[in-house]
Each structure stands twice: as C-alpha cells, then as structure tokens.
Assembly symmetry: C2
C-alpha cells in the first residue's frame, strides 16, 4: 500500500515556512503500515495541482493532499479537484451549523464567504473538522483513495487522527513497518559503515539500512516491512544486536531514535540525579531542549539565563574581578557560572555557557561563535571552548549539542 503526500502552497516553495505537516503525516502513516513513496509540494495554481495529482495517482494507491481549502481566493484546491474528477460541489449543512455555532461563541460574524467552506466535492465523503471551518474530504476513485485536508497543522492533525487513520486501518489489510535506530557519537559515517559492512551486505530484501549523519552524530536505521509483526520484530532485533556488537560500546549513545536531551534525561532519571543550567549565549535553548522532554520535572531543577553582568554577579556569584579581567566570555567566568548555579540551585549536575552568538559582540581575540562551555558534577568540572561558525541559530544549536554531550559523558563517568 503506497501513499503519496501532496502539499500545496507557495509559502512552502518560497521557504516562508517549513513543511512540518508531511513529517507528522509520514510518521502516522508508517505507524499503521502505510509506506510514503513520495512527497510533492506544488504552487497554489490549478494547473500545477491537477498535474501533480494525476502523476501521484499513477504511482500510488493513496494520495493525501493538504492545503488550499481555506475561504480566500488563493485557495484553489477544490476547484482543481472538481476539474480533475469532472464533478461539482455539494453543500454540507452540518458544517454550516458547526461554523455558525462556533462563530457565535467567539463573537465572529458569519459572512457569505463562510458558506462556501461547507461545499465539498460531489464524489467525496465529508471528513469533519472539529478545529476549523474547512472540512476534509475522502474520495474513492477507481480503486484508489484521495484524501483532501486543510493545511493548518492542528486542523489537519485532528482530521487525520479522528477520520483518516481509522478509515485506512479498517478498510485495508495493512502490513507492518518497523524502524529501529542506533545513535552513534564520535565516529565518522564511513567508519561506522566499514565496521558493520558484514551485516549490511547480508540483509534480506525487505530490510533496509540507512545512515543519517549530522554534527558528529550518526544515526544508523534499520527499516523493515512484513506481514507478520512478531517475525519482523525478531528479525530486526537480531540484525540490530549484530550491528551493536560490531561497534565500540562507548560510541553508542542510544539504542533508540532518541535526541540527546532524551538520552541525558534517561541517564539522570536512572541515576536519580538532578540538573541545573546557567545559560548566557545559548539564551534558554538548552533549558528548552531539556524541558521539552516529558517527565523532565523529575530531574530538572531550573535555569538561570544570565545575559547581563549584573545577574551573573548577583545571582550566580561571578566575581566582578573575573568579568573585568577576563570578560564574560572566558574559561574563568564559565567555571564560576557552573559552580554558582550548582550551589545556588543545589543540583547534582550543572551546565553553563557563555559566548558570542553573533552577529554583533565580537572582539579582535574573540570572534563570533566563540563559546565557553562548562559541566560540573559530583566529581568536579570540565570546560571546553568551541568556535562555531555560521548564523546565530547555528552557534546556539552547536553549543547545546556539545554541552549536552559533555554532560552525557560526565554522567556516564560518575
């Protein structure tokens, strides 16, 4: 059962927004055994939509379209589909009532333009939208399925959860798709591939191996498809164990597709240790990563984001002399920051960062991207200086990655 996603909208083609819808949809579809074959983004233009639609239906059994269902003139998806299927529109009274009731509650007036929101394709079944005015549509076309959803993420997600996924699982006898990912740190992709070549060369047709490298981290993923879930699971587990046994255990950061903040969270939880953070240049990003993990309140005490000298001195207890002599971006300062937060917040471990995220703030001996990072634990502290390059967000992200990995290593050594 092959599916294609067709996302419509110039905002995606000019890089104004990122296509997060297709990431989420692909995850959900994989989870019920539907393989996504292709993702296509086209303009809000009738002809582009019709052509892309036609091509997708030639390749796939299910085509899920998002975007272009709104009440405004740039929303042309329904027109394009009417043209493609040679059908007209029908009005859904239930949708009109829903919109009227909702608007009344929120004090919005019902305009003629909203009436058009209740029109769906004659050859379609209504997929009710609890979160907005644009309904979804389910079309059976010559043995293939076309689903049409609004592009606003939380509206699309609601209809997918309530309508689309249940219909797909009940109407089709779907296979199982399983993925298993090993997170490898501190080894280049080619070294990893070299070490596990024996497994890779002998994989059966229905199991694939992929490498996903980024910033000193390689995710190695096994993906399999099969009709018997337990057999498939067993097969993948075995290959996964084989791969693990061929790599140095110190380089294996996780045996699940975890982010570094999740790995750190699991380590802190299992060791019943707590964490506090003092951030300067990373501006709250490390704290945000840590607290984006459910259950982080069990080990995360709190953070101080200390942009000003005054806060660094008053709350973290950094010496004025240190700031005057070495500046805020210095090993001396990052050390005092990490011990300050650890003592003040009474945590077992602590992280501190101070640096120049840019684009302003550079000095002759401290270019943009210069960052000092410290981690402290029950057995002492470690510091590291990195010189990142690129834009502000790159510097911030790299700082967070290095800091979290330093913390990971320190927890493991403790």
């Amino acid at each position: 059962m092959k599916a294609e996603l067709l996302t419509i909208g110039d905002e995606l083609l000019i890089g104004q927004v990122s296509n997060t819808n297709s990431v989420w949809m692909a995850q959900q579809l994989n989870a019920i055994g539907v393989w996504v074959n292709q993702i296509t983004t086209v303009s809000d233009e009738k002809q582009s939509i019709i052509k892309a639609m036609d091509e997708a239906l030639q390749r796939a059994d299910i085509v899920i379209i998002t975007g272009g269902l709104g009440p405004t003139k740039d929303d042309v998806t329904k027109l394009a589909l009417c043209h493609y299927f040679k059908v007209g529109l029908k009005k859904e009274e239930a949708v009109i009532q829903f919109i009227k009731t909702n608007f009344l509650k929120r004090g919005i007036s019902f305009l003629p333009v909203h009436e058009s929101q209740a029109l769906i394709l004659e050859n379609s079944e209504l997929l009710f939208n609890n979160n907005g005015t644009a309904p979804g549509m389910w079309i059976n076309h010559q043995g293939k399925i076309v689903v049409c959803l609004p592009g606003v993420p939380f509206e699309m997600k609601g209809i997918m959860r309530n309508e689309v996924l249940p219909r797909l699982t009940s109407q089709f006898n779907l296979p199982f798709i399983l993925h298993k990912t090993l997170v490898v740190l501190g080894m280049p992709e080619s070294d990893v591939a070299d070490k596990i070549a024996d497994v890779e060369d002998n994989l059966p047709e229905h199991i694939k191996l992929a490498y996903l490298p980024n910033f000193g981290m390689v995710r190695v993923r096994l993906s399999g498809i099969g009709v018997d879930e337990s057999i498939l699971k067993q097969e993948i587990e075995q290959y996964f164990l084989d791969i693990q046994s061929m790599l140095p255990s110190s380089n294996i950061a996780a045996t699940d597709d975890l982010k570094l903040e999740e790995i750190v969270g699991l380590l802190l939880t299992s060791k019943k240790q707590s964490l506090a953070i003092a951030e300067s240049c990373s501006g709250g990003y490390i704290s945000h990563l840590i607290t984006s993990v459910p259950g982080s309140s069990d080990y995360f005490v709190g953070s101080l984001i200390a942009y000003s000298y005054q806060i660094k001195m008053e709350i973290l207890g950094v010496n004025q002399q240190t700031l005057l002599e070495y500046g805020a971006v210095s090993e001396a300062c990052v050390k005092e920051m990490v011990m300050g937060i650890k003592n003040k917040f009474g945590s077992d471990f602590a992280i501190s960062t101070t640096g120049i995220a840019g684009p302003g703030g550079a000095t002759p001996d401290k270019p943009v991207g210069t960052v000092w990072i410290a981690v402290a634990g029950p057995q002492g502290l470690k510091t590291r200086k990195i010189i990142g390059n690129g834009e502000r967000m790159n510097v911030i992200e790299r700082t967070a990655l290095v800091a979290l990995d330093m913390l990971r290593c320190m927890i493991l050594e403790t």
Copy 2:
C-alpha cells in the same frame, strides 16, 4: 527561470527528519530571482530517483538534487544519475588530496571507501565541498542545469553559497522576485480577506496575494516577479499600503515578515525598555525565542526557569502560603512570579508562566494544557489563563505565542 528541488532520502519519507534543506534553498533561490516550481522528495532507490529526475527536467530549467552522495551503500544518487545520463564516473585528484589532508589533521584513517567519494559524473563539473567528503556536481544537459549536492545541511549550504548561487547569477539574466508580508493578529483569515477584497480583485497577473493563517495570526503576503526591480518594488509597496489602509491599525502587528519575538524586540528597542522572564511550564522556550533575535542583549536582562517550588520561593520570592493554598499553577502564583522577576532583575517589563505542559501532572480541576500567564510593566500587570490542547510542544508553543502577544499589547499601551 523555473527551478525544482529534488530531495532524496528515506529519512524524509518516514518523518525522521524535517526537510529544512529545501526551506533554505528556496529562500536563497528566490533572493536571486529563481522561482521554485516544485519540491519533490523520493526514496534512496535508483528507479525512484531516475523517474523523479526525468519528470523534473520536463517541467523545470534547473533541477537541484540533494542527498545520497555519501560513501555508504544507501547512497545511490550517483549510480542513478550515471544511468540517466548514460555516462561513467571520473576521479578528481583534488578531492582525494583534500580528504587525505583533512583526515590526517583529525586523526582519521583514509579507507578505500573514501576513494569513491572523489568520483564525479563524467559530464559534470566539480563543485568543491569545503566542509565534507562528498563533492557537488554541475551538469549542463540539453540547455538545462542539473546540480547535485550532499544532503548534510552545512555541506549543502557551503556549496550553494560558494558555487551554485554565483554561477546561476553570472550565467543567467534573472528577473527579480519580491515578497512583502503583513502580520495581522486577532482577526480571522476570512475577515481579513473580506476587508481587502478590492485590492485582491484588481492585482495584475505578476503579483499574487496569499494568506498564511496559524494560531490567531494571519500573514498576508504579496509576491511579485518582474524584470525591473525598482518598478516592481514600487508596485508592491503601493498595493501593500492599500491593504494596510483597509485594515484596523490595531490588528497590524508588523509590516514585515517578522516573528512575534522580533516584533517585541523592535518595540522594546524603540522604547528603550528591558525585559526579564520567569518561566515554569514553558521551560525556557520564551527566553530562547527572545534571545534567538540578534541584538536581544540590548533589551533582554535574563530569565529564571523555575521548575521547583524551592526556586520559585527562594529566588522569585513566591510565598510558601500561595503555593500551599492555590498550587503553583494558579493566578496568585503567576502574579507573584512576574513581580518577583521584575523586581529581582530590575527590568521594565516581565513575563511569567506556570502550567501543566503534560503529559503528566494533571489534577481533576487542572487538566493538561492549563497555563497561567502574566505580564507586568511600568503601569501594572495582566494575567490570562489558557487551556491548550495536544502534545507537550503544542502547549509550550501556544503559551509562548500568547505571552509574547500579551507583552506586545502592553508595550503598545504603555
């Protein structure tokens, strides 16, 4: 001059990663006058790549391919292209030397597999990769251009900046593409459309209007294409002013495609006012948004992320009695938090948040998603309770959006 992006990789099709490469490439191409017509993502399979390649070349003048150039077996892009163009590979000595020198510096051994990285298509010109082992390729094919780049974001960006964009601007006489965006808050998309219908109905063929709604915010975008930059700019400016004059000024949050944190930053800068934040449930995300803006150190003093009761009491001065009587997720607590941070950090404005981001932590009268937000300024404080739904990250994002908009309104009223 129409371009298409062809991104290759199963990690995109299973939703393991988001396609951030195409967002960045689309922005860069637009900036030099190249319109991106379609973005297609296909699997790491030879046949899928060949088919997508063939279709893209029928529609576009330039096809930029990313991904599948690595040294591992799941990297099949070069094989697919050799097959498509009916050519072999040639070895680039400069690439081998570069890899050897680099590996020597970093203490990595040069393996036979790396030799294959220096192979490029016979019909291509080398696009040197300063940041990795996989070179890019530039192919002239029957009057059309095919560019092939590695998928690792910082490697792709380096080659785009150093090689691809300069070649495109020097070899082609490109038009100008301009976008201008109005950020409208507190008005439904259909109301906005209704009010500006007169402008929209009379736009010339080369200027398009689009609406991008999300979470109580609508971005209205004019996009134009033309050969004379100053005429195009003038035209767009005029329509833009017309649109502005048709909407209530209080609903216009920005006349540029700014994020809310940028709008708040501009307001604080222009009024020479400072900001401090006390976050509980939002866990550093608001601080991260604020500090992601270059120059934020001019107005941002710092934040406290207070997950524990103890930190809320000790540093923010929240009364123990308040926590015992009303709990941390209460109006009483959020008020004390906002005044605590404002006084402690000596800022003009302050934000505080406390709530249940989930999935754990709910009580019978406080479901997951219950969040109290407070903002304080020179003239007092305001609070608001929201009940978000969905996943942890949704609750956090919605909290940040509401908090920043409350702050925006308070700064404007001060």
